[in-house]
Point group: C2
Chain length 360, copies 2
């Protein structure tokens, strides 16, 4: 059976001031009109039954996430007591899926991506799930790049393995970190590189076996947790085993070491909505003649290629600037060079260090 | 007797969003901690008795201005029903001064300049008042330029006339409009040019005689107004005569045509606080190591030479920008390139044209 695992543990510091400690990025409608988590759930509708859908998140974020989902059948929520990156998150989810379904196939995805159209997404996911169900392949999804992005990791594809329902499937030659501009241009020109989507598909048993071999400490913790599920000790064991875990991504922990990796070509529109700059890109269809995306009461004089986000009853006036991001909330305002949108994280770090913790 | 005429009719559009229709620039503490009008009144303390001090302003601004002055002896207020630039404003004040004092000498100044130190200001004003009282000279004040400003008009001095209490007094060779950068550099290098301060001194009878000769329509209106002062018809006559008046500055109406003009060298620190850029300059002593002047809860990452103004309880975060102005108020925020600060006026004009009049 196909299960969905939605990783919703991020805090989204780069989306300050809209995202805060108690209002993570996933509950924001940064890509459009619905919260990202609601978009993600809607994308699974018809592909995975809601009772087979698991949202993994930090305990403090359960309330905001369920509120963002609104009324309706609720997915199961797997609470992490500490954020320990994706290897632990996926391992914990695998333990729960395996317990419910020894043959369970997991479709793992972040909660904060924007993907269109839903129909093509589901077709590609089904093709991948078929491959994963047949054996021990770790299936990744490679997005056909549309521009030389420097903010994404890349997957260099190897030989073609097959077509699954018309979806091309390749071996993986190598994973590549976020490249410099020139390298990204080479990747784009070659046609052999995909953006690394952060979406995966595999049997729960397969990924747990990989964790056993590559991250024995994590695996030992997961075994303890598995033994405590649905007992009175569950919460305590989870806290005790999770706290000392190393923060390590599934990419480093498993993908770069495992043998049978496949990349499925994903030809849908995709964005990981990593920063305000990607929001500007996502909403480009709504831009005015000067390339400005405006979701605010605003007055602009000689402004181009900028993103202005506010709320009703507050005017944002901008004069003589290009490529800026202005985001206004009732208690905090961000003004940022668009090409420095990644560094909003540094701003939040500065707030953490300073006496301005009220704004976190 | 020496009278002071404080011209406080400006709306200060370039100081949006702190200045608004009902909160003109003069009531803002843009130069420091006290409202500009209060600074101006304090500057006259000991030079002109408060009962000989006249504030000329638009009817709608009387309340805010008096509120900004706080408790204490109030100056007389001359209300204009319409803003008709400085020739009309000064003519109206001259009518009132002459009525109270046929030999009255008027020291005319804008309400929104920052001048330091007060002692030197008063010494220079006294010297000028002596010259004005002796005859029919129109006395202007020339500020010794400290940098090649392109935002000020200049006065080219002619032959030296005398030293008045050690203050050099010159004939005026010519008034010059705001120059281009290169021209401003030549002016600065020559040593013969002053910034045109917008401060004047003359007998009320002298300036009215000039207006009679150079602007007969305005003079006719002033005669009608003079005849109606303290009668039941005063307000009606003022409205009727003022409304059709041409908007013309005292510089164009009189200074460029009159014969006996003197420029007194004013060696005090002076700024007309024309825009947010001049506020940044004025407050430079408070700047941090990166040249940022901050009067707000703020967190800055890679920001230099910028001005950030806000209010308690609202954080302003700026990332990766130089030479910007950010001003936050409860219902409106300005983000502006510092070298485009003059164009905040254009932003306000855009608001006037649009459906966003609530923010004016």
């Amino acid at each position: 059976m196909l299960h969905a695992v939605v990783m919703a543990g991020g805090s989204g510091k780069r989306f300050w001031p809209q995202s805060r400690q108690r209002r993570p990025k996933q509950v924001l409608a940064v890509g459009g009109t619905r919260p990202l988590i609601a978009e993600t759930m809607a994308r699974l509708d018809g592909l995975v039954p809601v009772e087979h859908t698991h949202i993994v998140t930090h305990q403090s974020q359960v309330g905001p996430l369920l509120a963002a989902l609104g009324v309706g059948p609720a997915p199961s929520v797997i609470e992490e007591p500490y954020g320990r990156d994706t290897a632990a998150c996926i391992g914990l989810a695998a333990v729960h899926v395996l317990r419910a379904d020894p043959d369970g196939v997991m479709l793992v995805m972040p909660a904060d991506q924007v993907i269109r159209p839903v129909e093509r997404f589901q077709q590609v996911m089904r093709a991948a799930a078929d491959i994963a169900a047949q054996g021990d392949a770790l299936v990744t999804f490679g997005i056909k790049p549309t521009y030389p992005a420097t903010g994404y990791g890349y997957v260099h594809r190897g030989s073609k393995v097959c077509d699954a329902d018309g979806v091309p499937v390749y071996e993986v030659s190598r994973f590549r970190e976020k490249p410099a501009k020139e390298t990204a241009e080479d990747y784009l020109a070659s046609g052999d590189y995909y953006w690394n989507s952060g979406i995966f598909c595999w049997r729960a048993a397969t990924i747990l076996d990989c964790l056993r071999r590559f991250t024995p400490d994590l695996y030992a913790a997961l075994e303890r947790i598995a033994g405590a599920i649905a007992t009175i000790a569950e919460a305590t064991v989870l806290r005790e085993t999770y706290e000392p875990l190393e923060k390590i991504s599934i990419d480093y922990a498993v993908m770069e070491k495992a043998e049978t990796i496949r990349v499925v070509e994903a030809d849908f529109e995709w964005s990981d909505v990593g920063s305000w700059a990607s929001v500007a890109r996502l909403r480009q269809a709504d831009a005015d003649a000067e390339g400005n995306v405006i979701a605010a009461d605003a007055a602009l004089v000689d402004v181009a290629d900028s993103l202005v986000i506010g709320e009703d009853g507050h005017l944002i006036g901008v004069v003589g600037l290009d490529d800026v991001v202005v985001v206004h909330t009732p208690d905090a305002t961000l003004v940022c060079a668009k090409d420095r949108a990644e560094d909003v994280k540094a701003l939040v770090a500065a707030l953490e260090k300073s006496g301005l913790k009220d704004y976190l």
